[in-house]
């Protein structure tokens, strides 16, 4: 019999779901409870190489207050309804706004979007989940605050709470976002409202300035997990520096990658270069300056090396393109610039490009914007490389050592090419670590290519695991698989915590492979 819902939660009858929907409607108002296909449609748009049907929600509920979030959790417990929470819901390449499992309801907190406060002296912020980076940027500009944001590349539409809850990264000296998070308010599965750090102290004013509080510090356990729903988050903002000097270094040969990392790591660890150093491959660069694969080749499959070389030449790109920046007073920047240029000069390779030389050209422009907290969406150019809207990030973590790079690039490229896909990747040198971020791009409108991309992703995970690598984050189709990479003891502990905190297993079952 046809259901009036697009999907139902696992094990929940339609009649039971009707009753739950009635309660949600009473708690949130009818405009904040969506069940029609038309309203659910935007929540079903995924980029992963699996069928859309596998991640269709049963309903959307929208809350704007902590009390409403508590009410949602209560109803979910009563009717055993699994609930997937999103803040700004722009987790592209990781699952977008769709739930990890078909039939979960989505709690959309996008309309809970107050900037509660920004302190321009202590350089802190406290925001609700629906606040976007663009909204923060406008607020900072309108109020002429001497502060700088750090954000993920889809900055104009994504937001700090969702990004930090998934432990995302940005490109300024404050780019390790979870490191800069300070104070969190979480609604637990039993409806309690828990504040981390100093947040539980009556009359306290230090919630956004001192992370640890007293006793166990639990903030981390709420990220990439399903132990609570974050309703407020504090974080630190960087004071806007008097001088910002972005630069690029182009290296002509693929084999240069090891040397680049060895050369730059000491500068990065010593904070001479204070932001994450990005080392982007040719195709990433090409795509973000609006180059399409079809401009060069129309046969399916991977792009042959000679064409990649041709693109490199035509577009004046490096085989590797390093982006970093200096921040500070004119004197500080001058000294550090000398150190950087001297390092490159001594290496005898690498062409430095400054902002003055690059002018308004892409991709330099958007990289400089990302490194100085100016929202843009230029990186969506990646999706025009192959077209068809398929994308899954494969992002293994490693030590920041040159010896890791060659090995990883060769392995990734071999597997991608075997499945008819291209290596479109960059290394992000965090502090002592590297995220090797590879966009597994495919044409999602082709069923055959989608299948290939799925097999490719699975093989990437398997083969990298054999070499001792695991990813730092993954799309919702592979969360169970990646949980296994981290070993059985971790999984057992996570389950124990889950059972203790959420005995009905209502909060995002399956997130990071965790369930009761």
């Amino acid at each position: 019999m046809a259901s009036k819902y697009l999907a139902l939660p696992k094990g929940v009858s339609e009649a039971r779901f009707d009753a739950a929907i009635k309660k949600f409607t009473a708690a949130l108002g009818k405009d904040n409870v969506l069940t029609s296909g038309e309203h659910l449609q935007p929540y079903t748009k995924v980029m992963m190489a699996v069928e859309t049907e596998k991640h269709i929600p049963s309903a959307i509920v929208m809350a704007t207050t902590v009390e409403q979030v508590q009410a949602v959790v209560k109803i979910c417990n009563e009717y055993k309804i699994p609930v997937w929470t999103i803040s700004t819901g722009r987790n592209f390449g990781y699952g977008s706004a769709a739930p990890v499992e078909r039939g979960q309801i989505v709690l959309d907190l996008r309309k809970m979007n107050k900037i509660i406060h920004i302190d321009p002296e202590l350089c802190t912020a406290l925001v609700e989940p629906g606040v976007t980076y663009q909204q923060l940027y406008d607020y900072i500009e309108d109020n002429k605050l001497p502060l700088m944001l750090s954000f993920s590349a889809p900055s104009a539409i994504a937001g700090p709470v969702g990004n930090t809850m998934d432990r995302g990264v940005g490109y300024t000296p404050y780019g390790e976002h979870f490191l800069m998070q300070c104070g969190m308010e979480v609604v637990l599965a039993n409806g309690d409202v828990y504040r981390t750090g100093m947040g539980g102290v009556k009359g306290d004013k230090a919630w956004q300035v001192f992370k640890w509080g007293y006793g166990p510090t639990l903030d981390g356990m709420f990220t990439q997990s399903n132990y609570g729903i974050c309703t407020k988050m504090g974080f630190w903002l960087m004071p806007k520096p008097p001088v910002f000097k972005p630069f690029e270094i182009k290296f002509d040969n693929e084999a240069d990658i090891s040397e680049i990392v060895e050369m730059l790591r000491p500068l990065r660890i010593a904070q001479i270069i204070p932001n994450a150093v990005v080392i982007a491959g040719t195709l990433w660069e090409a795509a973000t300056c609006n180059t399409r694969r079809s401009d060069y080749i129309t046969t399916p499959g991977h792009t042959p090396d000679h064409i990649v070389k041709q693109i490199q030449k035509d577009k004046h790109l490096g085989a590797w393109n390093v982006y970093a920046a200096l921040y500070g007073s004119p004197e500080q920047v001058e000294v550090n610039w000398k150190i950087v240029t001297e390092t490159i000069r001594k290496a005898g390779k690498g062409r430095i490009v400054t902002q003055e030389e690059a002018g308004d050209t892409q991709p330099f422009k958007y990289r400089a914007q990302l490194m100085s907290g100016v929202p843009n969406l230029q990186e969506f150019g990646l999706y025009n490389w192959r077209g068809g809207g398929g994308s899954m990030w494969f992002a293994p973590v490693s030590q920041a050592r040159g010896s890791e790079c060659d090995k990883q690039v060769k392995l990734a490229k071999t597997i991608l090419n075997k499945h008819g896909l291209d290596y479109v990747g960059e290394f992000i040198v965090g502090w002592r670590d590297m995220h090797h971020v590879i966009d597994v791009l495919f044409d999602r409108s082709s069923e055959e290519e989608t299948k290939r991309a799925n097999a490719c992703f699975a093989e990437l995970l398997d083969e990298f695991e054999k070499e001792g690598y695991a990813v730092y984050r993954v799309n919702t189709a592979f969360q169970e698989r990646v949980a296994n990479s981290y070993g059985p003891v971790k999984r057992k502990l996570e389950k124990t915590i889950k059972r203790a905190l959420d005995p009905n297993g209502i909060l995002a079952p399956g997130k990071s492979g965790i369930r009761i």
Partner: protein, 108 residues
């Protein structure tokens, strides 16, 4: 569990509209824009333009495309274009945006 007839697909969009969207911009056929900046125009300039005027998404201004394109595609997304939920842009703002784009002139 069976999905009802309300299935989700970008293919639901009439092919002719899709073709129109992806085609080369038309040179004329735009009505006079209003003097004040509508909510829809504000949204376009703040968000949509970051792709649609950056060579990433197709040009939308001055195409003489019907309003329905601009009220349907944002909700479903299209290929790499993200879907915009009612919590991102409410129906009234989306309608205003559609009106603005449908009546816009090409950028000089």
């Amino acid at each position: 569990m069976v999905s009802n007839g309300n299935r989700i697909s970008t293919r639901a969009l009439p092919g002719v509209l899709l073709a129109a969207l992806l085609a080369v911009p038309a040179m004329s056929a735009s009505a006079e824009g209003t003097a004040e900046i509508s909510r829809g125009q504000q949204y376009y300039e703040k968000i949509c333009a970051k792709c649609h005027e950056a060579g990433i998404g197709p040009v939308l201004l001055g195409r003489g495309l019907p309003e329905v394109i601009f009220t349907t595609i944002p909700r479903s997304g299209l290929r790499a274009m993200p879907a915009f939920r009612v919590s991102d842009i409410d129906d009234a703002t989306l309608q205003s945006l559609a009106k603005y784009l449908a009546n816009s002139k090409p950028k000089p």
